[in-house]
């Protein structure tokens, strides 16, 4: 079976019908995301049902940088770049209620990570912002770790995701 969704950069998609059940995410996607994209605050990818063109889910992804001024030299010397670590940040990720229960959220999370791994701009970590405790649990389930200084943000190093990306999966047909 062909995979049912296409991942596309947000363009002229119908955003009005999108409903994930979380009011703030819906409102953001319907009325604010295009502004953020236009101002280069973030990029937005959507998963579109290949047959109906209905937007089934979306995520926003942006460049971030993590200053590491407090690390001892012995550690930073081994790090890829000093004094701050390039990262990607997935600010928002949501799946429309009609498309729940198929693992699309996880697939989009993996897609965001894959984009970070493939990105020409080096990124070493992936940060996510969780809206609520359920979202925190979703990310923790996928191996993300909470940040003590930003309780609703979690991180995953992309090297870990790259290992998962390399795992053999079912063949595409």
């Amino acid at each position: 079976m062909k995979p049912p969704f296409l991942v596309e950069l947000l363009g002229a998609h119908d955003r009005e019908g999108f409903s994930c059940g979380t009011e703030s995410l819906d409102t953001y996607f319907r009325s604010q995301v295009t502004q953020d994209v236009r101002r280069h605050v973030t990029n937005c990818f959507v998963a579109v049902d290949a047959d109906t063109r209905i937007v089934a889910g979306f995520f926003t992804i942006a460049a971030a940088s993590i200053p590491t001024p407090d690390l001892p030299g012995a550690v930073t010397k081994k790090l890829p770049r000093y004094p701050s670590l390039p990262a990607i940040r997935v600010g928002r990720l949501a799946v429309d209620s009609r498309f729940r229960g198929r693992g699309l959220g996880g697939a989009l999370l993996a897609d965001a990570a894959a984009r970070g791994i493939a990105s020409e701009v080096a990124a070493y970590a992936m940060l996510v912002d969780a809206k609520d405790e359920a979202a925190v649990a979703f990310y923790e389930h996928h191996g993300f770790q909470r940040l003590a200084s930003q309780p609703r943000s979690l991180f995953l190093v992309l090297a870990t995701a790259a290992k998962a990306l390399g795992e053999p999966g079912p063949r595409r047909t």
Partner: protein, 192 residues
């Protein structure tokens, strides 16, 4: 203050704003009354040229006077205007000028604000010896840049920095849910 506009500052922004008026650098200005250094910013030269602003160094302090942007230089001129003590940038430019996109189009912003806020802004601008517009534009620009920069910066505690650094140096094995997520990505997303 009285100043004589004889200096043409080579300023690409003026050239582009004014189009037909090509500025040239012709030497130091002279200021009536005192031996001093300073500069005037004009577009074009001599009679009829557009006088934008002028600086005068007097007794160690920089005095700045601003003409209406529409003010033309009449003869080789003296013009009276209000003066402010001003912190110019190292190139003798208006502090906000260097932060403005040089040569790019000028936009206008009109803002309604409470009278008391207006008063405070005016007072602050006076303290820094700038016009209200200069002060507001510079302050807002600075705040905007900081906001954008901050949005990208992720400030973490020492502990978090250490945890991320350790994870980068020794990446943990992926959780089984993450492996599943990548498999679902291939199964669900056509162009993955």
């Amino acid at each position: 203050m009285q100043a004589r506009a004889t200096l043409l500052d080579d300023d690409t922004s003026i050239r582009q704003h004014e189009g037909s008026l090509a500025p040239r650098r012709v030497g130091p200005p002279s200021v009536f009354g005192r031996a001093s250094k300073g500069g005037c910013r004009t577009a074009g030269f001599g009679r009829g040229s557009l006088l934008l602003e002028a600086t005068e160094f007097r007794g160690g302090s920089v005095t700045f006077c601003k003409w209406s942007p529409k003010h033309r230089v009449a003869r080789s001129t003296s013009v009276r205007r209000e003066t402010h003590t001003l912190g110019l940038d190292p190139y003798g430019n208006m502090p906000y000028r260097s932060s403005m996109a040089r040569g790019s189009a000028i936009s206008r912003l009109e803002a309604r604000l409470p009278a008391n806020v207006h008063k405070i802004l005016k007072r602050a601008a006076e303290i820094q010896g700038r016009t209200l517009t200069d002060f507001v534009v510079a302050a807002a620009h600075e705040a905007a840049c900081r906001t954008i920069e901050e949005a990208e910066l992720v400030r973490l505690s020492i502990d978090d920095q250490r945890r991320i650094a350790n994870a980068i140096l020794r990446p943990p094995a992926p959780a089984s849910a993450l492996k599943r997520a990548f498999r679902r990505r291939r199964a669900l997303l056509r162009n993955a």
